[in-house]
């Protein structure tokens, strides 16, 4: 009798066990969906206060935020006027003036070669300075004058060194690129000694936006080895301050074409809608334009 009930008990237990095995297959419950990482900063109350101190709605906004004018493109342009590369990099000024500022750095060697070619003799187009001497006269704006004086003051070597901005940028990016407005004065949105990061979704949105604006050249020999490192500075309203600097160098025509395409993308994408409380984080950015994945199929 005891045996029989023992058998029944064992059989029932086994049946339940089997049922459990079938209904709840092992491992399934552990197969949680993958969640993307979200960076989280653990901040102490004191750190939080510091962050708040640098935010738009912070209590001590007035004394800290004494600078909006300084960040306006025009004032930066003026400040940077002594630096020739920066003058070129100024927010697109009246075309004539812009072109004038750029004339010296672009001797365009390839054009010089072309006159040698057989039937169709090419020559570099006469310098714009010669081609249109009447232009500056037409537009007697206050800015060109100091600029012209600056040029006279510089000696040739210094000028060349300044014009050679790409190698300089590569060697000492901070010295060359350090934005003028990051002086000792506190800036709105900037909190000294405190870390803030952009959230993943903010970065993804920015990246998606750049992807829409950026039309890289369609690739060529060596195109899969090129990255354009572009440094840009932004106003609080998300517009560009001045001209983005290419912080790395590459001598090939493809690098130049790719760099131009990145600069065009950055111009085209503005204004950038980024969280204003994190202005300190995004006001100075480096974008690495890396087209290699796009050329992968070739």
């Amino acid at each position: 009798m005891v045996r029989k009930s023992a058998f029944i008990s064992i059989a029932l237990h086994l049946a339940i066990l089997l049922w459990v095995l079938v209904v709840f297959p092992a491992g399934r419950a552990l197969d949680a969906p993958k969640i993307e990482d979200v960076p989280i900063d653990i901040v102490t109350p004191s750190e939080f206060t510091k962050i708040k101190a640098g935010m738009v709605d912070a209590k001590y906004d007035a004394p800290l935020a004494a600078k909006p004018e300084d960040q306006k493109p025009k004032s930066v342009t003026e400040k940077e006027a002594p630096k020739l590369p920066k003058a070129e990099a100024a927010v697109p000024p009246p075309p004539a003036q812009q072109a004038k500022a750029e004339e010296p750095p672009k001797p365009k060697p390839e054009k010089v070669e072309k006159p040698k070619e057989a039937e169709a003799k090419k020559e570099p187009l006469p310098n714009k300075a010669e081609a249109k001497p009447e232009k500056p006269k037409d537009k007697p704006k206050p800015k060109p004058a100091p600029q012209a004086e600056q040029k006279h003051d510089l000696n040739a070597d210094r000028l060349a060194a300044l014009l050679n901005k790409i190698p300089n940028a590569a060697k000492e990016p901070r010295a060359v690129d350090a934005p003028q407005y990051t002086s000792k004065k506190p800036v709105k949105g900037q909190s000294s000694g405190t870390q803030m990061t952009m959230a993943v979704n903010e970065i993804d949105a920015l990246r998606a936006k750049m992807a829409r604006c950026w039309s890289p050249p369609p690739g060529g020999l060596g195109a899969d080895a090129i990255i354009i490192k572009l440094r840009l500075q932004l106003n609080e309203d998300g517009t560009l301050i001045g001209y983005p600097t290419v912080a790395n160098s590459g001598g090939s025509p493809f690098f130049q074409a790719a760099a131009d395409s990145a600069v065009r993308a950055v111009f085209q994408c503005q204004p950038y809608e980024l969280p204003s409380e994190k202005y300190a984080v995004w006001r100075d950015m480096i974008l690495n334009f890396d087209p290699r994945q796009m050329y992968g199929s070739g």
Binding site: A96, A118, A120, L125, V281, L287, P291
Partner: protein, 450 residues
């Protein structure tokens, strides 16, 4: 100070996730009075699309007809459009009119119509020569991207347009242009069973077609010298095949040689000093190189199979050819002296007419597979095979000098069918019919003219 982590670190760790995952790095300054953080972000996705460009009618400086100047800007526009990489904007949308080549455009007028670049030109006549001035402007940054001035013969007006289109193409894509080039091809007229085949030459856009031979003799396989405006081709006078050299500038023609048996597919070496071709002797076809000065030939292959269609690598160090030594036609590569012969094609089907790209990175070929003739490319080691186009009968690929575009011919079926020339981008997109007066086959692309 600022602590920037190189993006390569991220890519090494998670190359696949590079597009998705967070790559922003914020550095904080320690012990610096200048608290300054820099966000670094990788942009790995873009949108490769035709670049909208404005090409207002070129102005005349008063010494030539305004229509003639406009014709040149039309050539520029058509060239750029045909590349598939540019999108010339409809002039009706232009806000600023009457641009002066000596002055920067009003960029604010070009931004609303999404022009990324503006090409401004002026054409004039000076001492009987055509004078062209041209500038290319970046609209968004307001920078001048290119500026050239040149003189040319008045009758080369279309070439002025091609040269300017090349300048724009090179500046915007970083690759050499290919518009100022010509294509030699076999013009085919008459009924299918009694075709008259004549050698013809035209600009790459199909203009200025000139016939080079009379059609009395059958001509085959014209090939351009990579360095000079010379072509080599086969002509069958009677049953006697001859290899000719023809200077298309001077019209001077000379016989390279008359060879016993059949000769096939002569092609220049990159320096233009040698010709490589195949000769049939005693049932076997082998590849020979001939020095054009000494007329000395060197045998490069020696098998009982058919080895033909040889083509040099652009550095002259290697030769690609087809051979049926393994049963079916396949592609092989050997050193220029005939050593180290090895097969590179490995897919199913048979391969023929391999042509090495002028930039060296790819070999184009015709492939017969599943009853279809395909045009494809592969790397010189045989990897990365890609089909660019397929159809009833595609054959004879030839590279544009920049190695970006291919031209080939496609035979249409039926009694009234015949071969037509097509061009296609290396990506497999932008296939275009190249208009010829009648049927055309066997195209060969010239190097840049100047």
């Amino acid at each position: 100070m600022i602590d920037l982590i190189p993006s390569s670190i991220f890519q090494r760790r998670a190359p696949r996730l590079a597009t998705v995952l967070l790559c922003a790095v914020i550095g904080a300054s320690a012990g610096s009075d200048r608290a300054h953080a820099v966000v670094e972000l990788n942009i790995t996705q873009g949108n490769i699309q035709p670049l909208p460009i404005a090409i207002p009618d070129f102005a005349s400086d008063g010494t030539i007809d305004a229509g003639a100047a406009r014709e040149i800007s039309d050539v520029v526009s058509n060239d750029l459009k045909s590349s598939g990489l540019f999108l010339p904007i409809d002039p009706a949308a232009f806000i600023e009119k009457g641009l002066d080549v000596a002055q920067a455009p009003r960029f604010e007028d070009w931004r609303p119509i999404n022009a990324q670049a503006v090409a401004v030109g002026r054409i004039g006549n000076s001492d009987g020569k055509l004078r062209a001035e041209f500038r290319l402007w970046d609209v968004l940054s307001g920078k001048q991207l290119a500026g050239v001035q040149f003189f040319t013969r008045a009758k080369d007006a279309r070439r002025v347009g091609h040269i300017i289109a090349d300048v724009i193409y090179e500046r915007m894509t970083g690759e050499k242009g290919y518009f100022d080039t010509r294509v030699v091809f076999v013009d085919e007229s008459g009924p299918k069973d009694k075709r008259i085949k004549r050698l013809a030459i035209m600009d790459q856009d199909g203009h200025n077609v000139r016939l080079l031979t009379t059609g009395k003799d059958l001509v085959l396989t014209p090939r351009f010298s990579p360095s000079t405006q010379e072509i080599t081709y086969m002509s069958f006078e009677g049953d006697n095949p001859k290899v000719y050299l023809l200077n298309i500038e001077t019209g001077q023609k000379e016989i390279v040689g008359t060879f016993p048996g059949m000769t096939f597919a002569p092609r220049f070496s990159p320096d233009g000093q040698r010709i490589v071709m195949s000769l049939e002797q005693a049932g076997a076809t082998n590849i020979y190189a001939m020095d054009l000065r000494s007329r000395r030939t060197t045998q490069l292959t020696s098998s009982q199979a058919i080895n033909t269609s040889p083509c040099y690598a652009p550095d002259g160090s290697r030769i690609v050819f087809e051979s049926d030594r393994d049963g079916s036609q396949q592609i092989y590569v050997m050193n220029a002296d005939g050593s180290n012969q090895r097969r590179i094609s490995s897919g199913g089907g048979s391969y023929s007419t391999p042509v090495w790209s002028p930039r060296g990175d790819l070999i184009a070929f015709t492939k017969l597979s599943g009853g279809q003739f395909l045009i494809g490319v592969m790397k010189p080691d045989g990897s990365g095979e890609r089909v660019l186009t397929e159809g009833f009968h595609n054959e004879g690929p030839t590279w544009a000098p920049n190695g970006r575009v291919l031209m080939f011919f496609r035979e249409s079926p039926g009694a009234g069918g015949g071969p037509r020339l097509f061009s296609i981008d290396l990506t497999g997109y932008n296939e275009r019919l190249v208009a010829t007066p009648s049927f055309g086959s066997d195209p060969a692309w010239s190097p840049l003219i100047n």
